[in-house]
């Protein structure tokens, strides 16, 4: 054990390519986004049932908008996670045609969700007269759902950009790892919607007993 040249042999190399860094970076971004949404959601939950004047969620969310409609929109958003996963899988296998198909489908579903949100908001603002300043429910609803919609919009923008670049031939299967990172973000946006949906439309919407 006095001189141990074996122990001095260079240790295993650590992976040093940018893709791993990218993955860690995106993971960190998602963690910070979770902390961000976590705060908005806590605030929303904190204010459930504290309103001193209506309209209350039970009136607005139940009556004027069939819950089915929101559920319908949500399913579009959630299922797009599957499409984007299929898209990445196709790209991994080098099938760019399939990639474009699934990717475009993802964009369409995401867009449908946004349009649905638009109708819902229109309905609430115009027919029910609920806006930010109406009451706590309005403040919380538009902030939370609005920030989620904002994230969907950003995601859609990036997805569309990639779609265009692919159609122009700038994206090849060797970019798959970068494109994959975008899909992580999209999964996050979908996942957080499950929580938002549960909090706003189910938990916060319980009949007042």
């Amino acid at each position: 054990m006095t001189t141990a040249p074996a122990a001095l042999a260079p240790p295993e190399a650590l992976p040093q390519n940018g893709i791993v860094n990218g993955k860690i970076g995106i993971a960190c971004m998602i963690i910070s986004e979770i902390a961000f949404f976590g705060t908005l959601i806590s605030a929303y939950v904190f204010y459930i049932g504290r309103d001193i004047n209506g309209p209350y969620p039970q009136e607005v969310l139940d009556v004027s908008i069939a819950p089915l409609k929101v559920l319908f929109n949500s399913i579009f958003l959630l299922i797009s996670s599957v499409w984007i996963w299929l898209a990445i899988r196709s790209m991994r296998k080098g099938r760019m045609g399939a990639f474009i198909f699934w990717w475009a489908l993802t964009v369409l579903c995401g867009a449908e969700f946004l349009v649905g949100t638009g109708f819902e908001w229109y309905d609430m603002i115009v027919n029910d007269g609920v806006w930010m300043g109406t009451n706590l429910f309005g403040s919380g609803f538009y902030t939370l759902v609005g920030f989620h919609a904002f994230h969907v919009t950003m995601g859609l923008f990036v997805l569309t950009l990639i779609l265009i670049l692919t159609l122009l031939g700038h994206v090849t299967p060797k970019n798959v790892e970068k494109v994959d990172l975008v899909s992580w973000y999209w999964h996050f946006v979908d996942g957080i919607w499950v929580v938002v949906f549960f909090v706003v439309y189910v938990f916060g919407n319980m009949p007042i007993s």
């Binding site: 295993e12 190399a13 992976p15 940018g18 700038h170 970019n175 970068k178």
Partner: protein, 276 residues
């Protein structure tokens, strides 16, 4: 994993090229924020700036990051010269990563020493009370004032009288404090470089007296009102000398830091380098 040599061996060191994109983006974003508190036109300008910066940035990073070759530095790092034999070992040779102190007092000895010191100090205080105030209980009652609020209002007469709870509380305080301080002595003495007995007998009692002086009116107003500082310091010194003497007398044991794990766990095995 991969054993390919790092790529700079083959074609120089690549570094990302400078770009103003990120700065423009940041400026645009700030303008957008500023638009909220100034005028919407500022925000629009900010958005345009942001987009311009983002395009620049995107094209810098895609499809492959724009890189430039690094200039090989004119000045090379001075090679590091080995200096064999220049390591001073703290203790002996085999224990190069020794953690000080190598030898410590048993905690038990510290606590016993503290208890003995506490008894000596108590005797001292009681004798002093007997001589100066003609009462065995005077000092005890004053000490008990740390916990018993009634002591504060006692007259001189009452202080000289016997109080059962005063005795019990006084003994408990004296014992607990003495044992705790004794334990601290045991822990601290091994890391005092020199003059250990001086430290134990004089320096700590003085520090302790100073601390008492500063806080006594809050902690024990009764004692604060009646205390005679010279006698107090003398009793502390009596404690310090006794406890310090006892602990030093008991000797040290070595820590287990360079024992083999098996020995530390108390396994009886052969062939392992054992403890000292």
């Amino acid at each position: 994993m991969s054993t390919t040599p790092p790529n700079e061996k083959s074609h120089g060191i690549e570094l990302p090229q400078p770009t103003a994109g990120p700065m423009i983006c940041a400026f645009g974003l700030t303008l957008m924020a500023a638009g909220i508190v100034t005028n919407w036109i500022v925000a629009v300008a900010g958005f345009a700036t942001f987009v311009a910066g983002a395009i620049n940035w995107f094209r810098n990073a895609n499809p492959d990051s724009l890189e430039m070759l690094a200039t090989p530095a004119e000045e090379k790092p001075t090679p590091i010269v080995p200096r064999p034999g220049s390591v001073d070992h703290l203790v002996g040779d085999a224990t190069h990563r020794a953690r000080l102190p190598m030898e410590i007092h048993r905690y038990r000895d510290g606590m016993i020493g503290g208890a003995i010191g506490g008894v000596v100090m108590a005797i001292f205080a009681v004798v002093w009370g007997l001589i100066s105030h003609g009462s065995l209980w005077y000092a005890v009652n004053l000490l008990a004032g740390t916990l018993l609020s009634g002591v504060t209002d006692m007259s001189m007469e009452e202080l000289r009288a016997f109080h059962a709870e005063g005795l019990v509380v006084g003994i408990i305080i004296q014992l607990v404090m003495s044992i705790a301080v004794g334990l601290l002595y045991g822990v601290i003495l091994p890391i005092i470089p020199r003059g250990t007995l001086l430290f134990a007998a004089v320096i700590v009692p003085l520090i302790w007296s100073g601390l008492t002086w500063a806080t006594i009116s809050v902690i024990n107003p009764a004692l604060g009102a009646h205390i005679e500082w010279l006698a107090f310091i003398a009793s502390q010194v009596a404690f310090g000398i006794t406890t310090g003497w006892w602990i030093i007398r008991c000797g040290k044991i070595s820590t287990m830091q360079n024992w083999h794990y098996l020995d530390r766990f108390g396994f009886e095995t052969q062939g392992k380098g054992g403890g000292s």
